[in-house]
Amino acid sequence: MDYTLQFGQVWPYLPRLLSGAGLALQIAFLSFCGGLLIGTALAAIKAFGPGWARRLINVYVVFFTNTPQLVQIYFLFFALPDAGILLSPYVAVLIGMTLNAGAYLTEIQRAGFESRKQSEMEAAEVLGFSRLQQIRYVILPHVARVLFPPLSNHFIIMTLGTSMAAIFGVEELTGQALNINAQTFRSIEVFSVTALIYVALTLLASVALGLIGKFAFRAKMRLA
């Protein structure tokens, strides 16, 4: 064991790693938003929709939450070309992560829809709130308070999940690390710096989300 760590060779590449971190956040953010849209729509259908729609949604949720995201993206990336659909790595990862997030977020949102209380709605109606006002002043604050912590938790998990994109050649943080590793062969140094950037990234994200949750939604959150 005569290996000396030399971080000096990694520093020049730091801007590349940081731009990769930006891309990782971008992927996480976009697929989270897409997943949130899917999740909200499907959870609403699950709460109010017809039985067959509910069963269909269940199939989607159960399938995507019980198989690895990596293999799902493999399927999109390698199998769809056979059917004539060519996806770029970035798009394949984005679609895969969005579909995956949609399934998990449907499950999380369902809990939110279930947590609305009939008595609160009736109280609002007695006070003369219109339907829109009911949603704006009664349902939303309540649901946001309940849902914000698990949703932000899932966002952090997704930020870590973006490292999967490197496998398909997207040059986000891990992808950049793999490239730099191939150029410098300073594997331990490159990957430990990468790991620290991920720690910083997710810490930053959880503090920001915690502050938003605390002040905007009065959710019970643990900072950091």
């Binding site: 399938f63 019980n66 690895p68 399927f75 199998a79 056979d82 999940g161 490292s163 690390a177 810490l203």
Partner: protein
């Protein structure tokens, strides 16, 4: 495309491919089992270290906290690369499966430590104080006072984590461990169409994960109400 599928279907379910996929599925299960079992043990130690109070052990406590906080915030792929290259450069000639098992265990112990700690904290502080006042040591009070009450709180999220975890082991394919995902890649390279191969792999993962997640949901249903009624 459909006739191609019909042509390949008997091929992928040929005798040797079935054995190959079976072995790969066993590797996936083995990795997950090692991660869960060893991870739980290490997590328990981490939580116990964090509960110590002597001033001398303070650095050890910080280390335990640092370990948990870092490994919960580093993607599995990066941990895998770090462990992989560390062993490579240190000259230790370990089988790839072991390298993957070690990284899996590192991640699992960090996440499970958080789950166990949350469970322990759900037991009222007075209980621990009472146990200590009766001259129970730390381990004895955890074993006889905290664990009997906390396991109901710990089990559902821990089980949920185990199920998530089985799917995370798919990343071990990236360093060349022959588990399900890697087997899919091999079969794909042998010329079978990607849709069929990864479809089959997805179905096998599903067959492993779905019964466990149903079991987890049942556990949660059975354990959760008694938790609320007691509070």
């Amino acid at each position: 495309m459909l006739e191609r599928l019909a042509e390949e279907l008997p091929q992928i379910f040929g005798y040797y491919n079935l054995i190959f996929l079976g072995k790969a599925a066993l590797a996936t299960l083995g990795l997950s089992a090692i991660g869960c079992i060893v991870g739980t043990l290490i997590a328990l130690v981490l939580v116990l270290v964090r509960m110590t109070e002597s001033r001398l052990l303070a650095p050890l406590r910080w280390l335990a906290i640092l370990f948990v906080e870092i490994f919960r915030r580093v993607p599995f792929l990066v941990t895998l690369m770090l462990v992989f290259f560390s062993f490579q450069l240190s000259g230790a000639d370990l089988p790839l499966f072991l390298v993957a098992a070690i990284s899996v265990t590192l991640i699992a112990s960090a996440f499970l430590a958080e789950i166990i700690r949350a469970g322990f904290e759900s037991v009222h502080r007075n209980q621990l104080d009472a146990a200590r006042a009766m001259n129970f040591g730390l381990i004895a009070s955890v074993r006889h006072v905290i664990l009997p009450q906390a396991w109901r709180v710990i089990l559902p999220p821990a089980f949920g984590f185990f199920v998530l975890f089985i799917k995370d082991t798919a990343l071990a394919s990236q360093i060349g461990v022959l588990e399900l995902t890697y087997a899919g890649k091999v079969l794909n390279n042998k010329g079978l169409s990607a849709g069929l191969v990864f479809g089959v792999v997805l179905v096998i993962y599903f067959a492993i994960s779905y019964p466990l997640s149903r079991l987890g949901a049942r556990l949660e249903d059975r354990l959760a109400p008694s938790r609320h009624s007691r509070a």
